[in-house]
Amino acid sequence: MPPPYPPNVITANALINGDVVYQTRDDQWSETLAHAEIITDEAHAQIRLLDAQSQPEKVIGAYLAPIKTTPDGPVTTLFREYFRATGPSNYPHGKQESRHV
């Protein structure tokens, strides 16, 4: 049996404001990682990536990013993805604004 496919999400930057977004199960783009569709099948991942890459009017540079599933939802495993999901550390800007307001 092949090794299980590690969980991934599809992420990109939104066309207008450049914000980090995640593809959801119902073909929307969310600014929140918790809303992302968690993909655990390689063939499905490739199909969903093609879906994402065929929306140049909405997003830029879609790719698969590995995550870990936890009882609290998906969390990033690469620190670059952590910063993308969180925002900069010097100011409460970007994704932190909506959470702090």
């Binding site: 930057n13 066309l15 207008i16 404001n17 450049g18 914000d19 980090v20 140049p56 009017e57 830029i60 540079g61 495993t77 690469l78 620190f79 670059r80 910063f83 993308r84 925002g87 900069p88 550390s89 010097n90 100011y91 800007h93 970007g94 994704k95």
Partner: protein
């Protein structure tokens, strides 16, 4: 200051209208991202980690008050109320929306600014000594030359698709504050037998292959400048590699062909090109020079200044570190630190930008400069007004007395913003500055250029720091390498790697050990960190960094 001609204004307006239409076609789906990307990069628009980033050129680092206010207005209206000043005398806005960018560029054009050629494989913003036209040690103001190069290089049809980006820096002073030896072409004004000219330095650069520039011509008469640099770049344009991005800069072209071969090609090309200029460049230069006439310096007593130094220790500490010698009697060059302890290096809020604009008008003939060390300079301040200026800066939190000290850190945006970064830079800079402020020893430590880059591309000039820090990714976590002995001045030197890297938690203690070792090793208070390093070499500093841990491992 140089004023746009009708030609300049029409050129920028046309270019902005063109880009406005390109943005609209991207948004309505007519252009794909692959088609749009080269167009946006030609206009300084990047896509970073969390948002777009617009890089706006500040030619030779010179701004007037109206321009600074326009930058503040853009920061408020289209961004998050601040801007980031860079080592190449640009300002970067970190949060513009694609749909606002054309309006931002129009707002810039109204104050004679633009973002053209701040990205892409073109000739970038021409930088200069931030003390230009003011420095006591200056032969002549380098900015007319920088402006001539700006005009010649902007939209130059032959040089829009070079093998790689191309950076110029110009200095009119023997003390190099423009990092000329780390540029593709560095120009140092010199005189020979009473004739004005340049030492032409070629092939300097940092990044993954750091190289100190080499002298291509030890004396080039001023009148030959433009045909000669056109000869250099057209030679590079043909000879430079396009098959490998990492071997495409002129520093590699020089290494692969040898400087003598490259020089011979340039000289031959120069002979062909020279007559085609028909002295038009010299006529234009003569006109440009009139725009950089020095202000009318006044003769006035400096009693207020000397009294403040006697009676006000805070003023005295600030004037010890933040003032530089001016060419005119009774004047000083003021550096306003954008490195308040714990702040993000190079960032200025819109409120601070507006205050600096007001202070420039009140005290500095309306002139402002951006330094390659990411600070702001008021170049022409009469010493009698320094106490009032200092008081205004103090009220605004802009009177940090740390120029050239360990907390005056150059740092790139790093992983907090940059799509290329491999580690964060800003929090490391904040931690170091805060720590040495708490210890209250940075004035005792003395001059110590510390520079941090968040990846191998070296935007934070870590190779040129007496202490350099390079943030990398190792096994999924941030790892910081230290280099020692780098120097950005006329004695430019690439730093030497000290050894294995430190984790994000261990980098601050490592820097502390290094600096305490220096304090113990220096022969006198006046011996700087770099001088001590040059006297003793790297061994005692390596011991300070690694000995403790080796003992632990051996135990």
């Amino acid at each position: 200051m140089y004023k746009y001609t009708d030609f300049d204004a029409a050129f920028v307006a046309n270019r902005n209208a063109q880009f406005r239409a390109q943005i609209a076609r991207r948004i309505d789906g007519s252009l794909t991202e692959d088609e749009f990307k080269p167009l946006r990069l030609m206009n300084g628009l990047y896509l970073q980690l969390h948002a777009y980033m617009l890089r706006v050129a500040i030619p030779y680092g010179t701004l007037n008050a109206a321009q600074m206010r326009a930058l503040a207005d853009i920061a408020d209206k289209y961004d998050k109320g601040y801007g980031h000043f860079t080592t190449r005398q640009n300002i970067q806005f970190n949060w513009p929306k694609l749909s606002d960018v054309a309006d931002i560029l129009d707002a810039l054009a109204r104050v004679e600014m633009h973002a053209i050629q701040t990205s892409g494989n073109t000739i970038r913003n021409v930088t200069a000594d931030p003390f230009a036209g003011a420095a006591a040690d200056e032969i002549a103001d380098p900015r007319p030359i920088a402006e001539l190069i700006r005009q010649w290089s902007t939209d130059h049809p032959e040089f829009q698709f070079l093998p790689r980006k191309f950076k110029f820096a110009v200095t009119g002073s023997p003390n190099d504050r423009a990092v000329t030896r780390a540029h593709d072409i560095g120009l140092r004004m010199i005189t020979k037998n009473g004739q004005a000219g340049f030492e032409v330095i070629v092939g300097g650069g940092l990044g993954r292959t750091p190289v100190i520039g080499k002298t291509l011509r030890d004396f080039l008469p001023e009148a030959d400048l433009l045909p000669y640099i056109e000869a250099i770049i057209s030679t590079y344009n043909l000879l430079g590699r396009r098959d490998n991005k990492y071997k495409a800069r002129i520093k590699i072209t020089l290494q692969e062909n040898g400087i003598d071969d490259f020089r011979a090609r340039v000289e031959a090309r120069f002979i062909d090109l020279h007559p085609t200029f028909e002295d038009v460049d010299q006529q234009i230069l003569t006109t440009i020079k009139t725009a950089f006439a020095p202000p009318d310096f006044v003769q006035a007593p400096v009693t207020l200044y000397t009294e403040a130094r006697t009676h006000d220790p805070v003023f005295r500490a600030w004037s010890d570190t933040n003032l530089s010698a001016h060419r005119a009697d009774g004047y000083a060059i003021v550096t306003i630190s954008l490195k308040a302890h714990g702040a993000t290096p190079g960032d200025a809020s819109s409120a601070k930008m507006r205050l600096i604009a007001d202070l420039a008008e009140a005290y500095s003939d309306g002139e402002i400069r951006i330094s390659p060390a990411q600070n702001i300079i008021l170049p022409h301040v009469h010493k009698s007004t320094l106490p009032a200026l200092h008081a205004a800066l103090l009220r605004a939190g802009l009177a940090t007395a740390n120029i050239g000290l360990v907390s005056d850190i150059i740092a790139c945006p790093g992983m907090d913003y940059c799509a290329l970064a491999t580690a964060r830079s800003i929090p490391v800079a904040q931690a170091i500055a805060t720590r040495f402020d708490t210890l209250e020893i940075e004035h005792d430590i003395g001059p110590l250029p510390l520079k941090i880059s968040g990846c191998i591309n070296a935007c934070g000039h870590h190779h040129l720091g007496a202490i350099g820090i390079l943030g990398l990714e190792r096994a999924g976590v941030e790892s910081y390498q230290i280099t020692l002995g780098g120097d950005a001045t006329e004695t430019a030197t690439i730093g030497t790697r000290a050894g294995r890297g430190f984790s994000a938690d261990d980098i601050l203690p490592a820097i502390e050990r290094l600096i305490f070792a220096y304090l113990a090793l220096r022969v006198e208070r006046e011996e700087t960190f770099l001088e001590t390093y040059r006297r003793l070499d790297i061994a005692p500093f390596k011991t300070a960094l690694y000995a403790q841990e080796e003992q632990t491992n051996a135990a």
